[in-house]
Symmetry: C2
Amino acid sequence: RKREIFKKNKIPIRGKSIAIYSTKGGVGKSTVAVNLAYSIKKIGFNTAVLDLDIHGPSVPRITGTQDYEPYSPDGKNISPAEKFGVKIMSIGYMAKGDTPVIWRGPMVMKAFRTLTFSTLWADTDVLVMDLPPGSGDVQLSLAQEADISGMVMITTPQELALEDLRRGISMFKKLSVPILGVIENMSYFTCDSCGKRHYIFGKGGGRDVAKSYGIDFIGEIPFDPDLMKMSDEGRIYVLEKDGEVSESF
Amino acid sequence: RKREIFKKNKIPIRGKSIAIYSTKGGVGKSTVAVNLAYSIKKIGFNTAVLDLDIHGPSVPRITGTQDYEPYSPDGKNISPAEKFGVKIMSIGYMAKGDTPVIWRGPMVMKAFRTLTFSTLWADTDVLVMDLPPGSGDVQLSLAQEADISGMVMITTPQELALEDLRRGISMFKKLSVPILGVIENMSYFTCDSCGKRHYIFGKGGGRDVAKSYGIDFIGEIPFDPDLMKMSDEGRIYVLEKDGEVSESF
Ligand SMILES: Nc1ncnc2c1ncn2[C@@H]1O[C@H](COP(=O)(O)OP(=O)(O)O)[C@@H](O)[C@H]1O
Ligand SMILES: Nc1ncnc2c1ncn2[C@@H]1O[C@H](COP(=O)(O)OP(=O)(O)O)[C@@H](O)[C@H]1O
Ligand SMILES: [Zn+2]
C-alpha cells in the first residue's frame, strides 16, 4: 500500500495546538478541554477552545456562550465567541437548542475544515481542541490534514474505558501523531457527609495503561459534583472554585 | 427537496427490534442494552444483542465473549456468539484487543449492513441494538434502511446530557422512527458507609424532558458500582445480583 502523504496544513494560530481525545464518550473530554484552557489562560497565555464534537457540541453550554451568533467579517473567515479572554468556536453556534446535526462523513469533514482553518484565532498561543468520541472522519481528517502539536488522552479508571483508551493510543500511534500524555478523570468521589472516598469507576487504571505504552501519566482529576453543576450552568469551575480539583487542572 | 423514499429492509428475526440510543457517550447505552436483553430473556423470550458501536464496541467485554471467533457456515451469513442463551454480534469480534477501527463513513455503512442483515439471528423474538453516540452514518443508515420497531433513549440527569437527549429525540422524530421511551441512568449513588443518597449527576432531568416531548418515561436506574465492576469482568449483573437496580431493568 502506497503510504498516502497528506499535506498537513498549519492552523492559523501563533503557538501550539493540543487535541483532547478519548475513543469513549462521557469520560469528560469537553469538561477537561474547557477547564484546561482557562487554567492555561490563568498562567498568562492567550488560549482558545475549538469544539470539534460535530454531533454533540457541549462547549457552548459549558462556557455559557450558547447565544453567540458567529459572523464573517470578510465573507471567508469566521469570528469566534470570546469569554473571559478565551476564544471559542463550535458547530453548536450554528445548530442551536435541540437542532440535531445529522450529517454523514463528507459534510462532517467540511465542517471540520471550516471550524479549524477559517476561524480567526489571531494571536492564540494555545488552542485546545475537544474531539468527538470514536475513530471516524473527524479524527482521521485531523491526523491527516492538520499540523497539531499533540494529543492528550482522557480516560476514566474502569476497564471498559481503558479498552477504548488502548484503541485510541494505537490509532494515533499508527497515524504518527504525538501523544503528550494520559489524564484520568472521575478518579474518586468523596461523600460529603461521612468523608468516605469512593472509587466509583475503579482505581489506578489510567496510570497502568499509560505506563504500558510508555506514555506520560499527567494526573488524576477527582469527581466533584460542583464541576458537573457549574458546567451545566455555563460557569467556569477553575475560575470560581479553588481546591484539589482546580489544582489538578 | 424531494423526500427520499428509502426501502426499509426487514432484519432477519422472528419478532421485534429495539435500538438503545443516546447522542451522548458514556451514559450507559451498552450496559443498559445488555442487561435489558438478559432481563427480557429471563421472562421467556429469545433475545439477541447487536453492538453497532463500530468505533468503540463494548458488548463483547460486558458479556465476557471477547474470545469468540465469528465464522460463516455458507460464505454469506455470519454465526453470532451465544452466552446464557442470548445471541450476540459485534465488530469487536473482528477487531480484538487494542485494534482501533479507523473507518470513514462508507466503510462504517458496510459494517452496519453486514452485522445487521447477515447475522444468523434465527428465531430471535427481541433484538436489542446498541447504537454509537452521535448522529452520523450508523444512525442515518439504521433509520433509512432498517425496519426497526422503535428507539429507547438513554440519558443521565444533568443538563449537558439532556441537551443531547433533545437533539436525539428531534432527530428520530424527523426521520420518522418511533420513540418507545426514555430511561434515566445513574440517577443517584448511595454511600455504603452512611447511607446518604447522592444525586451525582443532578435530579429528575430525564422525566421532565420526556414529558415535554410527550414521550413515555420508562424509569430510573440508580448508580451501582457493582454494575460497573461486573461489566468490566464480563459478568451479567441482572443474572447475578437481585435488588433495586435489577428490578429497574
Ligand atoms: N471530574 C468530574 N467531576 C464531576 N463531573 C464531571 C467530571 N468530569 C466530567 N464531569 C461531568 O460528566 C459529564 C460528562 O463529561 P463531558 O465533558 O461531557 O464528557 P465527554 O466530552 O467525554 O462526553 C458532564 O456532565 C460533566 O459535567
Ligand atoms: N447504573 C450504573 N451504575 C454504575 N455504573 C454504570 C451504570 N450504568 C453504566 N455504568 C458504567 O458506566 C460506564 C459507561 O457505560 P457504557 O454502557 O459504556 O455507556 P455508553 O455505551 O453510553 O458509552 C461503564 O463503565 C459502565 O459499567
Ligand atoms: Zn457517606
